[in-house]
């Protein structure tokens, strides 16, 4: 069971054990970390936006077109922005570190 490290919107740090095979968005909502995930994983709302730690960003692979398009329309993005719904967690993600993005 991989563990991921999260900085929440209020700036506190927490670590959660997650199941491989679920999306990062599902893991965050399951642990009540104030991630709305309104569209439920369709890459159409941007409410599961996270900033990935730079040393982890490349390891997650590239963004798909729909995700990149949606991120392009958000205000609080940076070069390591991702949508949690587009990342499927695996054992190799043990240690993944991220910050939950500000509400748009």
């Amino acid at each position: 069971m991989p563990t991921i490290h999260i900085t929440t919107r209020n700036g506190s740090d927490t670590s959660i054990a997650v199941n491989a095979g679920v999306s990062l968005m599902e893991a965050l909502t399951e642990h009540d970390l104030d991630v709305e995930a309104v569209c439920g994983g369709a890459a159409s709302c941007g409410t599961c936006h996270v900033h990935i730690a730079p040393d982890w960003f490349e390891r997650l692979g590239p963004r798909e077109e729909l995700e990149a398009m949606l991120l392009d329309g958000l205000l609080n993005t940076d070069e390591t922005s991702r949508l949690g719904c587009q990342i499927t967690l695996a054992d190799a993600h043990d240690g993944l570190t991220l910050t939950i993005a500000e509400v748009e």
């Binding site: 104030d34 995930a37 309104v38 569209c39 439920g40 392009d72 329309g73 958000l74 509400v103």
Partner: protein, 414 residues
Amino acid sequence: MPETIAPVIPDDFKSKDLYSPDVFANPYPYYEHMRDKPIQYGLEDYPPGTIPGVDTPFPAWVVLKHAEVAEVSKKASVFSSRDIMQEESAAPTLMLVNHDDPRHAELRKIAQLAFTPKRVMTDIAPWMETTVGAQLEKYADGQVDFMADLAPNLPALVMTKLIGTPEKDHVLLRRWANAFMVTSDFTIEERQQCNVDLFLYYTAAVEERYADIAAGKPVPDDLMSAFIRTESEGNSLSKDEVVRFCLTLVVAGAETTGYLLGNLIDVLVDRPDLFSLLKEDRAQIRGFIEESLRRDGPVQRLHRVCTEDYELGGAQIKAGDWVAVFFASANRDPAVFEKPDEFILGRPGMGKQMTFGHGIHHCMGSGIARSEATQLLNGILDRCSALKPAGERKRQRGGFLNYGLETCPVDFIR
């Protein structure tokens, strides 16, 4: 807050009895009464565009618990948004709202670009600030009925700006959206005529835009042009679909947001403590709007059609059955929100409120609605030292889609 006296609900009250003007005006005690009972079948209610007295409603299962509203919303492949009743009526059928995937995803991609937070912030917000200022200068001085002009004007003006029709036509949009959403007390003939006029108006506007493009004239960078260009790029939006996209945005965004604005004012009038707090600390406005959306969200319910036999909360729903999904009841479910009837600024778990829906059909215009609400509140807080009641506030009793004020006499104290 009007209608504060709790109604006496008979023991044999059934979900089908929800279709009643007294319930439209004050539905929450009834949701509370029914929420923990087994899901019931039989509510006959009217989707947008259909006309009571003309169209025949399909009986629907009534879903009131947060968990079950979320379950239906997330399972779009089981609970279809296609609205056969609307299709069979004389009303124009809506785009996106009544499409299922994969077509829904294609259409959403086309329209979504116009609603991104970045575009709202750069293209819409500066115009909106000026427009809000002008509306407040015109109407927000002394005693006025907030629902007469201020509440409905702003969302309708936003629609003219977004889609690209003359601003002066916002008065027409207000009326058509009102009739389409089965909220106000129109006659059958008035509703039918409004639906015809709405369709003809956008048909003419779209025809004119096509002609301008064909003639090589410069056209504005608005949604109508974007929809037409999408078609020219081969992404298959027909002319008829462009028309229906435009009118979908109007009926989805104009009336609902007007009621949202009214419900915000309703709380501010009763809570001078919150008025003072927001005036001093504008960072609290977002939380104030979110709590209003949760507790008093205008849209009460939408319909889905079950595409396969499905068990929901112990109810055996058959393929073809209609389901009425009550987002507003989910928002007051004590299993998710403590003391759900209270207005608590900064309450936890606000991400679970469902006023803008959940799943693939979540409201695309939610950012615009929030922006309108924020700008209006800021404008009032900038100009006024207080907001006081100036008469009896009454809730609309015409239909189930929106919970909102019909009249809201207030005194804007400069």
